[in-house]
């Protein structure tokens, strides 16, 4: 059995059916522009595009991947087409990796949309692009697996949206992008360190504007650990809840 054919079949179908649809492409363009404008408008002082870039990139990935994956999987479960995937002779791990790979790719593409805009608006020299790419990939993976975690926890499409927000909005304010981690109240800081986006955003800050505060190895290890935990916990739940 050529499992890579099944893997690429699922990946390509999801890209065509969900992620490369015009509404999603426009979402990928509008979202970073809206966030950038919001930062510009709310700031009383002049804002450097380069300073905004880590936040806009991180949020583009987070908002793009979590809801898309959670919604598509919940939708497929409702229409029972997900059953067809469960009946295919490929391991559950590979199946879920194939299912999440489209969202991960979507997140990565989303992340670089603001970079394309920024090229025309600011000097981007001196950025460690390799580190940017590594952090973007890891943020995309953790955010997608967070979407998977949400998908496995709900049964309705609207629940997938609302439950995603339950994780996303606290992350938005506690990950150090709006308020530096050091300025957060001491009792809230542990929550910040329990959020994967905190580490991803910090790597991006280090790579783009050298303003990160967490040691790079700690951030990378934390993101990998979050990815592994979220993926296998979701697989455990799929086995428990969807294979009755």
């Amino acid at each position: 059995m050529k499992t890579w054919i099944a893997f690429s079949g699922i990946f390509m179908k999801d890209m065509r059916s969900y992620y490369l649809k015009p509404p999603n492409i426009s979402w990928g363009l509008i979202f970073p522009v809206a966030w950038t404008l919001m930062f510009f408008l709310r700031s009383p002082v002049a804002v450097e595009v380069r300073d905004l870039l880590p936040g806009v990139m991180a949020l583009s990935i987070l908002f793009g991947t979590t809801s898309m994956l959670a919604v598509t999987i919940t939708f497929e479960r409702k229409s029972r087409s997900f059953e067809r995937l469960l009946l295919a002779p490929i391991s559950l791990n590979l199946l879920m990796l194939a299912k999440t790979s489209g969202a991960i790719m979507f997140g990565i593409i989303n992340a670089f949309v603001p970079v394309i805009f920024a090229v025309f608006l600011a000097d981007l020299s001196g950025i460690n692009w390799l580190m940017v790419l590594a952090s973007v990939v890891l943020i995309a993976i953790t955010s997608t697996f967070l979407g998977l975690f949400v998908a496995v926890s709900v049964s309705q499409v609207f629940e997938a949206q609302t439950f995603s927000n339950f994780f996303r909005f606290p992350m938005l304010f506690l990950c150090g992008l709006f308020i530096p981690l050091a300025d957060l109240p001491a009792f809230i800081r542990p929550i910040s360190y329990a959020l994967p986006l905190t580490y991803g955003a910090d790597i991006l800050k280090t790579a783009i504007s050298q303003t990160g505060v967490i040691a790079l190895p700690v951030s990378f290890i934390a993101l990998v650990a979050f990815s592994i935990f979220l993926f296998f916990y979701s697989i455990y739940n799929v086995n428990r809840k969807w294979i009755l």
Partner: protein, 328 residues
């Protein structure tokens, strides 16, 4: 050769036994009908056999190999058609088939050729490029069956294939099932339509309240439950003219006149027809027809299970505890 063997298969949901220690096997090339009312455990059994439900107890083997704890080992050899179409609404018929082929590791050219072949075989070629959502219910069911066959499986699981579709499509699907059987496909068919099972299946297992209450060939089940042999004679004159003479000549037989020129002869044992034919002919009553009357599968099912058939086929399920034999 046995394709699937299930032993003591059990499934519990919150302490309730949906399937309770069932044993059966499916031979290569045959159609096994799993017949029972709604909620009897038919779909749960299919889910266990195909890997959509964990097995709580018992074993299941495919071509001799145990896959109780790892259904993935067996799924490549199975084609599964659920009771509701589960293809992708946004993909066309052809794309759905090709996608299903990819799930089974088929190369691009191989799956495209096979999709073409199946679209022709199932009469869906005209609609091949239409999105699945634009198909009628019957067409959806046909394409779902085609998707189950894309990888040429050893065994095809058909869960209620004609439920909820119109008569014309149901006939087409039955005819497709017959064709598949002729070509040697092994089929596990669940249905609550008794006539469908009688028409299509070689062997039947009756399942009621999670238990198989009787299993056997269609003919065997009918003979097993037949308490007396019955032959119906259609005559060229009135039977009443010879009735008293007949009773004297054949004292061990029961008679049931069925109108002016027909009579049913009942006997607890098998009997030869010649003496009866001679009796009627000698008395100027030519015999136009002599027909052995067998119980229908419906009679057998009611007798074994006591299930209210009307309720079963309108989806209200079984009435347990009324069976004369067996029972759950």
């Amino acid at each position: 050769m046995r394709i699937i063997e299930a032993e003591n298969l059990t499934k519990k949901y919150n302490g309730f036994k949906a399937v309770d220690g069932v044993n059966f096997h499916i031979n290569k090339g045959e159609i096994l009908g799993f017949l029972g009312p709604n909620g009897a455990g038919k779909t749960t059994t299919i889910n266990m056999l195909t890997g959509l439900a964990h097995i709580n107890a018992g074993t299941v083997r495919l071509m001799g190999e145990d896959y109780t704890r790892n259904a993935k080992k067996a799924q490549a050899l199975m084609g599964i058609v659920p009771d509701e179409s589960n293809l992708y609404e946004e993909l066309s018929g052809r794309q759905n088939l090709c996608f299903c082929g990819a799930l089974y590791g088929m190369e691009k050219e191989q799956r495209e050729n096979r999709a073409e072949e199946l679209l022709n075989q199932f009469g869906l070629h005209e609609a091949a490029e239409k999105p699945f959502r634009a198909y009628s219910k019957g067409m959806k069911r046909k394409l779902t069956i085609a998707a189950g066959l894309i990888h040429d499986p050893e065994i095809l699981f058909l869960d209620e294939p004609t439920t909820g579709i119109d008569v014309a499509f149901a006939r087409q699907i039955r005819s497709l099932i017959v064709d598949l059987h002729r070509k040697g496909t092994t089929i596990f068919l669940t249905t609550h339509y008794i006539e469908e099972a009688e028409r299509l299946c070689e062997r039947i297992a009756f399942i009621v309240q999670g238990k198989i209450v009787r299993e056997g060939t269609v003919v065997g089940l009918m003979e097993e439950t037949q308490e007396e042999k019955i032959v119906n004679f259609t005559l060229g004159g009135e039977f009443s003219a010879v009735e008293s003479e007949f009773k004297q000549a054949f004292p061990g037989y029961k008679l049931k006149p069925g109108g002016n020129s027909s009579v049913s002869i009942h006997s607890p044992t098998s009997f030869t027809l010649l003496p009866f034919v001679q009796f009627f002919e000698e008395r100027g009553l030519p015999v136009f027809e002599a027909k052995i009357v067998r119980p229908t599968l419906e009679d057998v099912f009611v007798k074994i299970t006591g299930v209210d058939l009307q309720k079963m086929q309108t989806g209200q399920g079984a009435k347990p505890g009324k069976g004369r034999k067996g029972g759950a």
